[in-house]
Symmetry: C2
Subunit: 318 residues, 2 copies
Amino acid sequence: MTQFVRDLGEHGLLQLFRPFCSDLVGDDAALLGAMPIDRELVVTTDILIDGVHFSPVTTSPQDVGWRAAAANLSDLAAMGAIPWGVVIAVGLPPETPVEWITSVYQGFTDCLKQYGTALVGGDTVRSTVITLSVTAFGQVQRDRVIQRHTAQIGDAILITGPHGLSKAGLELLLHPELGEKLASESIDLLHKAHQRPQPRLDVPPSIWQFCDRASGMDSSDGLADAIDQICKASGVGARLDWSAIPIPESIELIAGDRSIDWVLYGGEDFELVLCLAPDAARSLLNLIPNAAIIGEAISGNSGEGFDRIDRNRSFQHF
Amino acid sequence: MTQFVRDLGEHGLLQLFRPFCSDLVGDDAALLGAMPIDRELVVTTDILIDGVHFSPVTTSPQDVGWRAAAANLSDLAAMGAIPWGVVIAVGLPPETPVEWITSVYQGFTDCLKQYGTALVGGDTVRSTVITLSVTAFGQVQRDRVIQRHTAQIGDAILITGPHGLSKAGLELLLHPELGEKLASESIDLLHKAHQRPQPRLDVPPSIWQFCDRASGMDSSDGLADAIDQICKASGVGARLDWSAIPIPESIELIAGDRSIDWVLYGGEDFELVLCLAPDAARSLLNLIPNAAIIGEAISGNSGEGFDRIDRNRSFQHF
């Protein structure tokens, strides 16, 4: 017999979630410990609504949880930070099956575990729509912060992986017939790109092997948006080499002429878009498989190739 | 003409909220700086839903914002922490008036400002119900943490102020006729208790003038619940002096026989309930107006007076 959230009440729900939480006494707040003296605190928050940010058609509850964790860890990666801990606040309609929300917590903590961090606290309340609000904390060394406004003229623009795969996965889940020309392994990979994105927490430590400065952000709102945001914040333009922007074959087989659209504006790939010294960028290519240098930062606020991007078209969450 | 959230879009909303936020570059995450070496990070999160946690009948949008901030700052106070920064994630139906949500931000940041902290980041998305999710960060000295599980037999149980006032304010707002016997100043004070609760961030520094150890929590879920939680977590019982539990006259004039019920189970008073050495408790009474010693921690898990409390009856958020 299906058990629903309304059958448990607040204390029952807290009991249910306890196994997913790191060992805590149950105080008014979580105590996370001290921070090394050369580190700064980094904080990011995201709120996800059923029917707006996830849907049972395209994402299992485990995936909903995984994606919620991954999006916040990606924001930490984008700042060059190491995760320190995560809290989740949940709004649930009383008719939510207990198994559904337990599975969300499972996927959520699976992702945290893979990236060496833990759920340290939360809140659970009644709502009319399933709502997940995640806040992640990280630590970053003072001189190793990655920000959007520090790109310099002459920097290479590097992406840490291909784009459009999450969008392609989503489209395939919504319209399975689009996958006719694809091998089942390719379909699986695209589904995974959408359902189990991998935040690039591995990237920042690699960067510092080759240079002391990097600007950038993640591409959660699309590759085009990331380039645009960095250029705006840094007061630079960009020369983009369109032939260097990878268009995965699997996307071409599904999207045809629209492929470049998916790559530029698809969103939710959670790669990093970085501006750094050209030598360092070239060295990074050896360490990060599938990374690509797609252009360079130039003076001004436009540039060849950059002008072909629709700069008012970012992935809209609202 | 009323302007609605749907007229603004994501970027418009971000522009709208920017003036309320501390000076930030607009990166993927907020950079909060370093922490003194003897401090630990404290984190708390709360999620509030329209119709469940607030209502236009009893709370203006400014009050909704104030209360959301105050509840989280109270959790920091309960841990003995100093606020460091706060983020807010907001879910909004497109038909929300822009003025409404702007007023929420105004009340929210008014409260933060009064307690010397700031809004450092957030997220805004579309939802079907107005949802506010707040996460607050604080710092606490390692040897000055207040927790629930450290009460000792012989400790005095001290409350930092009277209880039941928020509940009385709420009832008066819902049923103004209850206020017939009250002076208008008393009505104002009770309304304020509900609409503008004051987190007790002033209390922890006073404690350390008189002792090195305190156990406790805030009374957001009711005075009875706080005593029960501390006793359970610390493995102690309590002898309660019911005659020492203050019952404000204004509450007696409204609630009559139910007064003690409101005082014990009303909730949302955001006072602190502390267990500490009796000498220190007595000294604290001189520093904190309206504080009262209402009992002592004893061996076992029950005790005179304590047995009269319905320990399964806490203020339910679900």
